[in-house]
C-alpha cells in the first residue's frame, strides 16, 4: 500500500530539482497562509459574496489584473532563469530538458496568462464606463470568462509541480508534441490549460462585441465612440474569428495523443505541417488581438495629455479595423522556411508588408496629435512616448523578416526573438502599463506614486534596450533560439552577458512597480472626484472614482466625440448644454436594473478544471465527473429565472452623496 502511494507520488509530483522543490514548498505554504488569513479575519463570506460570485465588470477586471501581475512575475522569473543560463558558454545551471520547459512556460504564460488577462482586465473596467453603460451585455458570461481563464491558468501552472511542465515550445509543434515525442503529462496540461482558458477568451470576445454595438449611451454613434472602445471592438472581433481555430487545433492534437488519431503524426497519413498551418492561423491574429487595445490606450493617453482631440479619428478607426481584417491573411510568414513554395511565400510576404501600413498611419496620427498640443508628461504619457520609437523599430524589423528570402536567414534566430519581444514589450506591455497607470485612479480612487513610477519606467526602458538590442546582433551572428548552451568559440558570450544584465534591470523595474503599488495603497490620498487627471476627455472620467457599482446614476446623453471634455469646455465658456443632455442629466433618479451575483461561473469552471485534470491523467471517473458537472451547472443556469434585481432610489442617492463628499 505504502509502495503504491510512493510510486504514485513520484509520478504525480515533480521530483529531483531543488528549484522546483522550493516552488512546491512555497506553494504549499502560501495555500496554508491564505486559508489561515481568511479564517482568522473571518473573510470567507466576504470573499464569496464580494468577489468570487461577482458579475460586476469592475471587480472582474481587477481580478484579471491581479492574476496578470502574478503571472508577469512567474514569466519574468522564467526569463531571468534563461538569461542566467545563457550568460556564459556551456553553463550547467539549466539542463536542456529544464531549459525547454522554461522557454515553453515563459511563452505561454506571457502571452496567454499575462498579456491576455491584463488586456481583458482593462476591457472590463473601462469599456462600459466609456460607453455610458452599467455593465457589459452579458455580466454572467463575463464572470464565466474570468473563472475559465483562472481554471485554465491554474491547470497550466500546476504542471510545474505536479506531473511536469510542457516543454515543446509555446506552440508545441508536432511531432515533438505527439505522444511519441512528449510522452509525459506536461503536454496534456498544456492542451487543457489553454483550451479551457481559450473558451473564456472567446466568450469575452462575443461579450464585448455585443456590448459595444448595442449598449452605447444615447447619442453615442459609433463614430463618436472613444478610440479605446474602437480598439476593443477591433480586438474582440478578431478574437471571435481566431479563437475557434485554436480550439479545433488543440482538440485535434488532443485526439492524436488521447485516441491515437493521425492528424499530425508522421505515420498513418498524418501531416505535422497542417498543425503549423492551423496554429498560426490563430497565432497571427492573436498578436494583433493583444496589440490593438494597446493602440487604443495610446490614443486615449496622447489625446488627454496633449489636451487635444486625437488627430485623424476616422483614419484611426479605419486603421484599427483594417489591421484586424488583414491580420487573418498573413499567417504563413511564421513558416516561410517550411517548404510552402515561392508563390505561397510571396503572397504572404506581401500581405505582411501591407499590414504595416495602417500601423504607420496610426503612429503619424499620434505624433500629429501631440503637435501644438498642451503637453504634460505624467507616467502614462511617458510610457506612450517611449512606445513610439520602440514599437516602430520592432515593426521595421518585422518588415525585414517579412522579406521571405531574407527570413531564411533570420528564422528561428535571435533576430526573430528580438523582433517579437520588441513589438510585444514595446507595444503590448508598454501599452498596458500606460493604461494601468492612466486608469488606476478610476479603479481605486488614488493615483500611483509618480516618483516610483518614473524609476520603474526608466529601468524598464533601459533594461529593455540593453537586453534586446544585442539579440539582433546575436541573431545576425548566427545564434539560434531555444538552445540552452553555446560553445565559447562562437564568440557570442559578450553580447549575451550584456543581454542578461538588461534582463535583470527589467526585473528590478518590476520590483519598483510592486513597491510603487504597495506604497500607493498605503500612503496616497484618496480622491473620489471622478476626473482624476483633471483633463479627462471621455465618459469614464465623469463619474466618481472608484465608480459606484451601478456606474451611472443617470444614463448620460452624448453629443460628440470626447463628449466629457467638450461638456466641460462648454460650461467654461458659459454655454448651455443641448436640451437632451440637460434632460438626461437632470432626470429624476429611477431604480436601476442590475444583475445578481452568481456562484455558477466559478463552480462550472471548477468542473472544467476537474475534467481537464482528469483528461491529463486519463482518470475516467474524474473526466466524467467534470463533464457531467459542466452540463448540470449549464442546465442550472438555464432554469434560473431569478438573476436580476432593482437598486432602489434611496441607495443611489446615498452613494452619490458619499462620493461627492470624498471628492477633492
Amino acid at each position: 500500500m505504502l509502495e503504491t502511494i510512493k510510486e504514485f507520488a513520484s509520478e504525480f509530483f515533480v521530483t529531483g530539482d531543488p528549484l522546483i522543490l522550493g516552488a512546491q514548498v512555497s506553494i504549499g505554504l502560501a495555500m496554508v497562509a491564505i486559508v489561515f488569513i481568511l479564517t482568522y479575519f473571518k473573510k470567507w463570506r466576504w470573499l464569496w459574496t464580494e468577489w468570487l460570485t461577482s458579475v460586476d465588470h469592475k471587480k472582474i477586471g481587477i481580478m484579471y489584473i491581479i492574476c496578470a501581475i502574478l503571472m508577469l512575475f512567474r514569466g519574468g522569473v522564467d526569463a531571468l532563469l534563461m538569461r542566467v543560463q545563457l550568460a556564459a558558454p556551456e553553463l550547467e545551471f539549466l539542463n536542456a530538458e529544464h531549459y525547454n520547459a522554461i522557454f515553453t512556460t515563459h511563452g505561454v504564460i506571457m502571452i496567454l496568462f499575462m498579456a491576455m488577462p491584463l488586456m481583458f482586465g482593462l476591457f472590463n473596467i473601462i469599456v462600459p464606463l466609456q460607453l455610458g453603460a452599467r455593465d457589459v451585455a452579458f455580466p454572467f458570461l463575463n464572470s464565466f470568462s474570468f473563472w475559465m481563464f483562472f481554471a485554465g491558468a491554474m491547470l497550466f501552472n500546476v504542471s510545474f509541480v505536479i506531473g511536469g511542465s510542457p516543454d515543446a515550445g509555446w506552440l508545441s509543434y508536432p511531432p515533438l508534441s505527439e505522444v511519441s515525442g512528449s510522452p509525459g503529462v506536461g503536454q496534456d496540461f498544456y492542451i487543457w490549460g489553454i483550451q479551457i482558458s481559450g473558451m473564456g477568451s472567446l466568450a469575452t470576445g462575443i461579450n464585448f462585441v455585443v456590448t459595444i454595438l448595442k449598449m452605447r449611451a444615447p447619442g453615442m454613434k459609433l463614430m463618436k465612440m472613444p478610440m479605446f472602445s474602437w480598439s476593443v471592438l477591433a480586438s474582440s472581433v478578431t478574437i471571435m474569428f481566431a479563437f475557434p481555430i485554436l480550439t479545433v487545433t488543440l482538440f485535434l492534437l488532443f485526439l492524436d495523443r488521447y485516441l491515437g488519431a493521425h492528424f499530425f503524426t508522421v505515420d498513418g497519413g498524418g501531416n505535422p505541417m497542417m498543425y503549423l498551418n492551423l496554429i498560426w492561423m490563430w497565432g497571427h491574429p492573436e498578436v494583433y488581438i493583444v496589440v490593438l487595445p494597446a493602440f487604443g490606450i495610446f490614443s486615449e493617453v496622447v489625446a488627454t495629455f496633449s489636451k487635444k482631440k486625437v488627430f485623424g479619428y476616422k483614419s484611426m478607426v479605419f486603421a484599427l479595423m483594417s489591421i484586424s481584417f488583414f491580420s487573418f491573411f498573413t499567417w504563413a510568414h511564421h513558416f516561410f522556411t517550411m517548404g510552402s513554395g515561392a508563390n505561397v511565400n510571396a503572397f504572404f510576404a506581401v500581405t505582411t508588408m501591407i499590414i504595416a501600413i495602417p500601423t504607420g498611419v496610426k503612429v503619424f496620427n499620434w505624433l500629429f496629435t501631440m503637435y501644438r498640443g498642451k503637453l504634460s508628461f505624467p507616467t502614462p504619457m511617458m510610457w506612450t512616448i517611449a512606445f513610439i520609437p520602440c514599437f516602430v523599430i520592432g515593426g521595421m524589423t518585422g518588415v525585414l523578416l517579412s522579406v521571405a528570402p531574407a527570413d531564411f536567414q533570420f528564422h528561428n534566430s535571435y533576430f526573430l526573438i528580438a523582433h517579437f519581444h520588441q513589438v510585444l514589450i514595446g507595444g503590448v506591455v508598454f501599452g498596458y502599463f500606460a493604461g494601468l497607470y492612466y486608469w488606476w485612479p478610476k479603479m481605486f480612487g488614488f493615483k500611483l506614486h509618480e516618483g516610483l513610477g518614473k524609476w520603474a519606467f526608466w529601468l524598464w526602458n533601459i533594461g529593455f534596450y540593453v537586453c534586446f538590442m544585442p539579440q539582433y546582433a546575436l541573431g545576425l551572428m548566427g545564434m539560434t533560439r531555444r538552445f540552452n548552451e553555446y560553445n565559447f568559440d562562437m564568440g557570442w558570450q559578450p553580447l549575451n552577458v550584456v543581454s542578461t544584465v538588461g534582463g535583470f534591470i527589467m526585473g528590478l523595474a518590476f520590483l519598483f512597480q510592486v513597491w510603487q503599488i504597495a506604497h500607493s495603497i498605503r500612503f496616497l490620498k484618496k480622491d473620489t472626484n471622478g476626473d482624476n487627471w483633471g483633463q479627462g476627455r471621455t465618459l469614464e472620467w465623469s463619474i466618481p472614482s472608484p465608480a459606484p457599482f451601478y456606474n451611472f446614476a443617470r444614463v448620460p446623453h452624448v453629443v460628440e466625440q470626447d463628449d466629457w471634455w467638450e461638456k466641460k469646455e462648454r460650461h467654461a465658456r458659459g454655454e448651455a448644454d443641448p436640451a437632451e443632455v440637460i434632460a438626461a442629466d437632470t432626470a429624476p433618479l429611477e431604480p436601476i436594473h442590475m444583475p445578481k451575483n452568481s456562484g455558477i461561473p466559478i463552480i462550472m469552471s471548477g468542473f472544467w478544471f476537474v475534467a481537464g485534470f482528469g483528461f491529463v491523467w486519463d482518470w475516467k471517473w474524474m473526466i466524467i465527473l467534470g463533464l457531467v458537472g459542466v452540463v448540470v451547472t449549464m442546465l442550472a443556469r438555464s432554469f434560473n429565472y431569478d438573476d436580476d434585481y432593482y437598486v432602489p432610489v434611496e441607495e443611489i442617492e446615498r452613494i452619490e452623496a458619499a462620493a461627492l463628499k470624498g471628492a477633492k
Binding site: 449598449m215 471571435m240 485535434l252 485526439l255 492524436d256 492528424f263 497519413g269 436594473h593 429565472y641
Partner: protein, 201 residues
C-alpha cells in the same frame, strides 16, 4: 428579465431589450461555431487523401443510412420552424409538441449516426486507422455531439415552457434553440456534400 416596465425604460434610454441582446449574442456565437467547423472542414479536405494504405471512405460508406439521416435532420429543422409558428400564435401545446418531434427526429439521427460509426469500426475503420478516418470521425462526430447537446437543450426548454408558459424569457430560449437547430442542419448539408457525396462520386 421579465419585468415589463423595465423594458420601456431601457428602450427610452437607448438600451436594448435584454432578450434581443441575448439573441444577438447567440447569433455571434453561431458565427464562431461556423469558424470552428470551417477549421474541421479544412482539415478534412487537406487530409482526405491520406488513407495510409488502409480502407478508403468509398469502400465502407453506406449511403442509404446517410440519405435517411439527411432527410430526418431536414425534417426536424422544418418541425422546429413549426414550433416557432405555434409559439408566435401563443399555442403552448403546439410549441411543446413540435419541439418534442424535433428532438425525437434528432434522436433518430444520432441513433443512425452511432450505428454507422459502430459499423465502420467493425469494418476496420476507427479514428486511429489513418488521417482520413481521424478527420472523418472528428468532423462528423463533432456535428453529432452538437446535435446531442441540442437534444438535451430542447428537452430543458420543453420543461421550462411546460412550467412557465410562453413569456418573453421562454420565447427567447425557443428562438435561440431553434436558431441553433437550423444552424446544425446547415452544417450537415456541407458534411453530407463534402464528406459523403464527394467521397462516393
Amino acid at each position: 428579465m421579465a419585468k415589463a416596465h423595465s423594458h420601456e425604460h431601457d428602450h427610452a434610454h437607448g438600451h436594448q431589450d435584454p432578450e434581443q441582446l441575448k439573441q444577438f449574442g447567440f447569433w455571434l456565437f453561431m458565427v464562431t461555431d461556423v469558424i470552428l467547423f470551417s477549421t474541421l472542414f479544412a482539415t478534412f479536405v487537406v487530409l482526405r487523401g491520406n488513407i495510409a494504405g488502409g480502407p478508403a471512405g468509398a469502400d465502407l460508406i453506406e449511403m442509404n443510412g446517410i440519405i435517411v439521416s439527411t432527410f430526418i435532420l431536414l425534417t426536424s429543422s422544418f418541425t422546429s420552424g413549426l414550433a416557432l409558428l405555434s409559439m408566435n400564435k401563443g399555442n403552448k401545446q403546439g410549441l411543446i409538441l413540435w419541439l418534442a418531434v424535433s428532438a425525437l427526429l434528432g434522436l433518430s439521427f444520432i441513433y443512425l449516426e452511432v450505428s454507422e460509426f459502430v459499423h465502420l469500426v467493425h469494418e476496420g475503420a476507427n479514428i486511429g486507422t489513418s488521417a482520413y478516418w481521424s478527420a472523418f470521425f472528428t468532423l462528423v462526430g463533432t456535428h453529432g455531439l452538437h446535435v446531442s447537446l441540442g437534444i438535451v437543450w430542447i428537452t430543458s426548454v420543453i420543461i421550462q415552457i411546460a412550467r412557465r408558459g410562453i413569456t418573453p424569457a421562454t420565447k427567447r430560449r425557443v428562438n435561440i434553440i431553434s436558431l441553433y437547430w437550423h444552424f446544425l442542419d446547415v452544417i450537415w448539408i456541407f458534411v453530407f456534400s463534402i464528406v459523403y457525396l464527394m467521397e462516393v462520386m
